[in-house]
């Protein structure tokens, strides 16, 4: 299990560690304090329209500075900024820069993985704007280290923002139940699907493609064979369309439970009724003095 965490973390991080100090333009002018003098003020209650949604312009300085990127200059991600008051017309396109393209400057290897992934192909293809970009999972200003327990514990909700059905069936599986109740070692979405290079299951290079399942499951379950990988991670027992085999056992058990409980409740209820009617509850037995 621990090995799995390590593998996943490595996949998630790429070799991010190497990039942190070297290339980032640390605290070049204008200083972050200049930015925060407006954007960090509690009075900064204006909003700006981004992709049709109103977003607050306020950034919590303390939270930002405590984050993984806390020592970076604002302008290292908010590329293209020029000193002076910036109107909405000038800030057009800045958001996507900060949430996606600027990441490439330090995390080029991970960025390439993302670019080749299913999500990346959507973002850089026709469906741009619909797929998650870097900051959608990694958060903008309160960035959490991907190897932290807090980030791992949030992966299910991150994915579920688009894949709610998959989350439901995952949480009903062995891994999901344990994960939900606090098991930090059990497999989460990214352990099987990958983090940055997520591909559709039909893609031969996908970790969850039929051809690669044995390798993927073997990360935690060494010795997994062809039978083993036929286990269905995303199955809804209550639906015959999900798996007829699993559903038929589910349906049979529900019927059995209903029959037994109904008979039991009727039998007990009538027994109690007769007990009261005949005064059996208040009767003292002959041998009891």
């Amino acid at each position: 299990m621990a090995a799995l965490v390590a593998v996943t973390t490595a996949a998630l991080l790429g070799s991010a560690g190497a990039a942190t100090a070297a290339t980032a333009p640390l605290l070049t002018a204008p200083s972050n304090d200049a930015c925060f003098s407006c954007h960090g003020s509690p009075d900064a209650n204006q909003t700006v329209e981004v992709a049709g949604r109103q977003k607050s312009i306020r950034v919590n300085q303390a939270v930002y500075e405590a984050s993984r990127h806390g020592k970076l200059a604002c302008t290292s991600c908010h590329l293209g900024f020029k000193p002076g008051v910036h109107t909405a017309a000038q800030t057009e396109g800045w958001l996507l820069t900060a949430k996606l393209t600027a990441c490439n400057d330090c995390h080029a290897d991970v960025f390439q993985m993302y670019r080749g992934s299913f999500h990346g192909s959507l973002e850089f293809g026709k469906s741009g704007g619909k797929a998650p970009v870097c900051a959608d999972c990694h958060v903008a200003h309160d960035i959490t280290p991907p190897d932290s327990p807090a980030f791992r514990a949030s992966i299910d909700t991150l994915c579920a923002r688009c894949h709610a059905d998959a989350l439901k069936t995952y949480l009903d599986s062995y891994h999901g139940k344990a994960f939900f109740l606090g098991d930090a070692k059990t497999a989460v979405c990214t352990d099987c699907h990958g983090g940055h290079k997520i591909l559709a299951p039909s893609d031969p290079a996908s970790t969850v493609n039929q051809a690669n399942l044995i390798a993927t499951c073997s990360k935690c379950h060494p010795g997994a064979n062809r039978n083993f990988v036929r286990f269905m991670v995303h199955v809804d027992p209550t639906s015959p369309h999900s798996s007829l085999l699993v559903w038929s056992f589910y349906a049979a058990y529900i019927m059995l439970i209903v029959v037994v409980f109904t008979f039991g409740a009727t039998h007990s209820g009538l027994y109690i009724y007769r007990g009261f009617k005949d005064g059996l509850y208040s009767r003292r037995r002959s041998h009891e003095e």
Binding site: L171, S173, Y174, K177, A178, F180, L181, G182, D183, K185, H221, G223, A224, N225, N227, F228, V229, R230, F231, M232, V235, P237, S243, L245, V246, F249, Y250, Y253, I254, L256, I257, V260, F261, F263, G264, A265, H267, S268, L270, Y271, I272, Y273, R274, G275, F276, K277, D278, L280, Y281, R285, S286, H287, E288, E289
Partner: protein, 293 residues
């Protein structure tokens, strides 16, 4: 309760005439130990297993934390499962030896735990009695609800045990079966657990042992092993009459000394049974909560 006037809780009690009572030995030491193992392991299994089934509820995490978190709870679940394997195997060996030694007659005896024609008549008779249309049927050693209780536990344990071990050892399982049977195993294990819990905690075992009018509020016989003979004569008239007829009554009569220890033990049985009742009520309330929300 018998009056306490004769019980002498002093060291001199040995010299005074000791109060005794003729009791009917209903369960021997083997029965009582078996029940104790079932009782403890079943409770642990329910409290470490049900939170997985109803994970979204607030009590699921509470119950897991009671055992030190989900991972530790899993260990307790497996230990209790091993206890279950032990008692089930011991019971089966005991039963098979008994049946073989009697050359199969034990299965057909009136004191057998197997269902027979009379059980069907008894069920019909009980429903007639419920509606005031006949006398209450008389029972031999085991009434039909006790047979159901026992046989469903034997069969249920087998089903839940096999599916549990399938999930405990997925590698071994998939050397023989395709992986989708692990999905099937989870569905069976989880619903069989609910069924067993309903049968034991609500509809059959707790009701017929403690809550039905004849036994209310508590029947301690599975702990003490024996009951006052008059009580048993009333409870199971057919077995009593049969033993009188066959001349085997002496085999099951014991002289029980009533001392302060008897009363102390009674207090312990009350505490244990109330604890079990509390656990049963708690888990029942939890599950109703989970189903309704």
């Amino acid at each position: 309760m018998a009056s306490t006037a004769d019980a002498a809780p002093t060291k001199n009690s040995a010299r005074k005439p000791v109060r005794t009572r003729i009791e009917y030995q209903r369960f021997n030491v083997f029965h009582r130990w078996m029940h104790f193992l079932v009782f403890v392991s079943f409770t642990v299994l329910v409290f470490t297993g049900m939170p997985l089934k109803y994970k979204e509820t607030a009590w699921a995490r509470w119950s897991m934390d009671l055992f030190g978190g989900v991972t530790a709870a899993g260990v307790y679940h497996r230990i209790a499962a091993l206890v279950t394997v032990f008692y089930w195997t011991a019971e089966m060996v005991f039963m098979i030896v008994m049946v073989l030694r009697s050359r199969g007659k034990a299965l057909k005896s009136p004191s057998s735990l197997m269902f027979n024609k009379k059980d069907l008549q008894d069920i019909v008779g009980m429903f007639a009695w419920f509606f005031g249309r006949g006398p209450k049927p008389q029972f031999d050693r085991y009434a039909y609800w006790e047979k159901f209780d026992y046989l469903s536990l034997v069969a249920g344990t087998m089903i839940i045990g096999v599916t549990g071990f399938m999930m405990w050892f997925p590698m071994r399982t998939t050397q023989i079966l395709p992986g989708e049977f692990l999905n099937v195993a989870l569905v069976i294990h989880s619903n069989e657990a609910l069924l067993a819990m309903g049968v034991i905690f609500i509809f059959v075992h707790f009701f017929t042992a403690h809550l039905k009018p004849e036994n209310f509020p508590l029947d301690k016989v599975i702990f003490t092993g024996s009951v006052p003979v008059e009580h048993y004569k009333e409870e199971r008239p057919l077995e009593y009459a049969r033993r009188v007829r066959e001349g085997t009554l002496d085999q099951v009569l014991v002289e029980k000394r009533i001392t302060w220890k008897t009363y102390a033990a009674d207090v312990i049985w009350w505490v244990i049974t109330l604890f079990a009742g509390f656990c049963a009520l708690l888990m029942t309330a939890f599950i109703i909560w989970a189903v309704l929300t």
